[in-house]
C-alpha cells in the first residue's frame, strides 16, 4: 500500500511583531494516522493550528491539504475543504442545545439554500430530518445522546470537550485538529478519550492532536512532532522522540539551547 501524505506543510513562518511564533516549520502527515504535536507552553502549537485552520495567514511557506493549496483561505473554506477543529479554550455555542451545536457542525454539508430554508420544502425537510438523525448518532457515539436537548453551556467540562469533538466530526472531515482535548479531564475521561480517538481513526478520519499529557500522547500517536520556540525540534515515532536528547533537554528546561 502506498503511504499517502494528507497534509503537507513546508517552511511555514509566522511572526507576531518580533516574536517568531512559527519558524520555518516543515511537517508531512500521512493519511489515517494519529499525528501528535508536543512542546512546552508557548511553543507555538496553537498558532500552528490557527494557520492550518485559516485563523492566521502564514507570512511564508505553504500548506497543501489533500493535494490542494489551502494557506490563506478563510476558516470556513478550510472547513469546507475537509479540515475540522476543536479549540484549546472551549468555543461552543453555549446557548444552543447540544444537538444544535452538532447540526451547526454539519453546516457545510447541508445543501438547502436560503429559499429552501424559507419555504421548508420537501428537499429541506428531508435533509433536516436526516441531519437530526445523524446528529443523534454522533452524540450516541460519544455518549452524549441523553443530553441532546440540554443547553451546551450546562454540560460538564469533560462533556463540553467531547461535544467540541463531535461538532467537528459532524462535517465529515478528512482531518480533525484537536487542541488539548484532554485538558481538564479526569483520569477516567482520559481513558475514554484514548478509546474515542482510536474509534475516530477507524472511521477514516486522520487526527492531528496537540496535548500536554505525555502518557496519552506516547500511547496514541503514530508519529510525534516536537515544537519548541516556534521551531520543529524533532519528529519520529514516540520511542524515537522520547530518546532524543534535544527533546529531553527542552522538557527539562535545559538552558543549553
Amino acid at each position: 500500500m502506498v503511504k499517502r501524505v494528507l497534509l503537507e506543510i513546508d517552511n511555514l513562518c509566522l511572526s507576531f511583531g518580533g516574536l517568531k511564533a512559527t519558524n520555518d516549520v516543515t511537517m508531512h502527515m500521512e493519511q489515517k494516522k494519529i499525528n501528535g504535536i508536543i512542546g512546552p507552553n508557548g511553543a507555538g502549537k496553537t498558532t500552528f493550528f490557527n494557520q492550518i485552520s485559516g485563523v492566521y495567514k502564514p507570512d511564508s511557506g505553504s500548506i497543501v491539504f489533500d493535494g490542494k493549496r489551502i494557506d490563506g483561505l478563510k476558516p470556513f473554506q478550510i472547513n469546507e475543504a475537509g479540515i475540522a477543529r476543536t479549540y484549546q479554550v472551549i468555543n461552543l455555542f453555549k446557548k444552543m442545545s447540544v444537538i444544535e451545536n452538532v447540526m451547526v457542525g454539519m453546516h457545510p454539508r447541508l445543501k438547502a439554500n436560503f429559499f429552501d430554508s424559507l419555504l421548508h420544502n420537501k428537499k429541506q425537510k428531508e435533509e433536516e430530518a436526516k441531519a437530526r438523525e445523524k446528529a443523534l448518532d454522533l452524540l450516541d457515539f460519544v455518549g452524549l445522546k441523553e443530553y441532546a436537548y440540554a443547553q451546551a453551556g450546562a454540560l460538564s467540562y469533560g462533556q463540553q470537550r467531547l461535544l467540541e469533538i463531535v461538532r467537528g466530526l459532524a462535517s465529515d472531515p478528512k482531518l480533525i485538529l484537536l487542541d488539548e482535548p484532554a485538558a481538564g479531564m479526569n483520569s477516567t475521561e482520559k481513558v475514554e478519550l484514548n478509546v474515542l480517538l482510536r474509534q475516530i481513526l477507524e472511521r477514516g478520519v486522520t487526527i492531528l492532536i496537540v496535548e500536554h499529557d505525555m502518557k496519552l500522547m506516547m500511547d496514541i500517536s503514530d508519529r510525534i512532532f516536537v515544537l519548541n520556540y516556534g521551531k520543529k525540534l524533532a519528529e519520529g515515532t514516540p520511542a524515537e522522540v522520547q530518546k532524543n536528547p534535544e527533546v529531553i533537554a527542552a522538557y527539562l528546561g535545559g538552558d543549553e539551547e
Partner: protein, 327 residues
C-alpha cells in the same frame, strides 16, 4: 402530549379574537382601537425584522428608520412618479430596502458592536438628510408627500377596518416566514454567529454572507412596514424617519425580548401603547424610551417576554419538583 392537544384550541381562539377585534372595538365605541392595531401590526413587522438581525444574528442596528423610510418613500414615489399600482410599489420598495441593506451590511459586517452602532446611526442620518434635501425636491423635502390608500384587486383599503385585515394578514405572513427561517439551517447559522463568530467560521459558516443575509432580511421587514405606514397614514414627512424612530424600534425589541417570535410582538404592542397613552408628553418621547430601556437593562434583562418565559420555566420546574417530592 396533552399540551399538544390543547394548543390548537388556544390558537383557534386567538384567531377568532383577532378577526373579531374590529367589531368588538366598534361595539364598545372605541373606533380608535382599530387604528392603534393597524400601527401595532406594522411595528410588529418592523421590530420582528430588527430582531432577526440583532436577536438572532447579534448585529445591532441603530439606523433602521432608514429602511422604514426607503420602504415608505420608495412606495409613495414609485406611485406618484411612475403610476405603478400601490401594492406593487410596496413590494418594489421593500426589495429596494433589502438591497440597500445588503450593500450597507457588507462593510458593516466587519465592524464590532460599538462601531456598528455608530455606522448605522450615521447611515440613518444620511438617509434622513437626503429626505430633507433631496435632488430637485423629489421627496417633497420638509413638506413631505401625500399619497393614496392601498388598492387590492380593485378594493380600496381606505377604512381602518379594511387596513386592519390587510395588516393582520401581512403580520401573519411575516411572522410565519420568520419562524420558518429561524428554524432552519439559516437560523442555526445566525445564532451560531451571535454566540461565537470565530467558532461559526471554524464550522464552515461563511460569516460575512450570513451577516449580510440577516441584515438584508431585516431591512426587508422594516422596509415593508414603512410602506404600510405610508399608505395607512397617506402622508409621509421626514419627521417620522429620524433617529427617534430607530431608537423606538430598538426599545420595542429590547423591551419585549430578543431572539424569539413573541418578544418583538409583546415589545411593539406595549411600547406603542405606552407612547400613545403618553401622547401629551410627546416632547419627552426620547426620555420615555430611555426610561423603558433602563427598566429593561436593570430589571428585565431578557425583556418582558423573556422574563415571563424564565418565570414560567421556573414555576414549571418547581411544580415538577413538588410532584417528585410528593411521590
Amino acid at each position: 402530549m396533552e399540551k399538544n392537544k390543547k394548543l390548537p384550541v388556544a390558537k383557534i381562539a386567538l384567531c377568532m379574537v383577532l378577526l373579531a377585534l374590529p367589531f368588538l372595538f366598534t361595539a364598545v365605541g372605541f373606533q380608535y382601537g382599530v387604528l392603534v392595531c393597524c400601527f401595532a401590526f406594522l411595528y410588529i413587522i418592523a421590530v420582528s425584522g430588527l430582531d432577526i438581525d440583532f436577536g438572532y444574528c447579534g448585529q445591532i442596528s441603530m439606523g433602521h428608520a432608514a429602511f422604514f423610510a426607503i420602504g415608505a418613500y420608495g412606495s409613495v414615489m414609485l406611485h406618484q412618479y411612475f403610476h405603478i399600482p400601490i401594492i406593487f410599489t410596496m413590494v418594489i420598495a421593500t426589495v429596494l430596502a433589502a438591497a440597500v441593506g445588503a450593500v450597507i451590511a457588507y462593510p458593516a459586517s466587519k465592524l464590532v458592536f460599538h462601531f456598528l452602532s455608530l455606522a448605522t446611526i450615521a447611515f440613518g442620518e444620511i438617509v434622513y438628510s437626503l429626505l430633507l434635501n433631496s435632488p430637485k425636491g423629489v421627496t417633497g423635502n420638509a413638506v413631505g408627500m401625500f399619497t393614496d390608500s392601498i388598492n387590492l384587486l380593485g378594493f380600496s383599503l381606505s377604512s381602518n377596518e379594511s387596513f386592519y385585515y390587510f395588516g393582520l394578514a401581512c403580520t401573519a405572513i411575516f411572522l410565519m416566514a420568520k419562524w420558518l427561517m429561524v428554524n432552519s439551517k439559516v437560523g442555526r447559522a445566525w445564532v451560531a454567529i451571535r454566540e461565537n463568530p470565530h467558532a461559526a467560521g471554524g464550522m464552515g459558516i461563511n460569516v460575512t454572507k450570513y451577516k449580510v443575509m440577516a441584515f438584508a432580511v431585516s431591512a426587508f421587514y422594516t422596509g415593508f412596514a414603512g410602506a404600510m405606514y405610508a399608505h395607512l397614514v397617506r402622508y409621509i414627512g421626514p419627521d417620522t424617519f429620524t433617529q427617534k424612530q430607530s431608537v423606538m424600534f430598538v426599545t420595542m425589541m429590547l423591551f419585549g425580548g430578543t431572539g424569539s417570535i413573541l418578544g418583538p410582538i409583546v415589545g411593539a404592542v406595549l411600547v406603542f401603547s405606552i407612547t400613545e397613552g403618553l401622547r401629551m408628553f410627546e416632547q419627552y418621547q426620547m426620555l420615555i424610551y430611555g426610561a423603558l430601556l433602563l427598566v429593561v437593562i436593570v430589571a428585565l434583562p431578557g425583556g418582558v417576554y423573556g422574563e415571563m418565559k424564565k418565570l414560567a420555566g421556573k414555576l414549571l420546574q418547581k411544580g415538577k419538583g413538588g410532584e417528585k417530592s410528593a411521590a
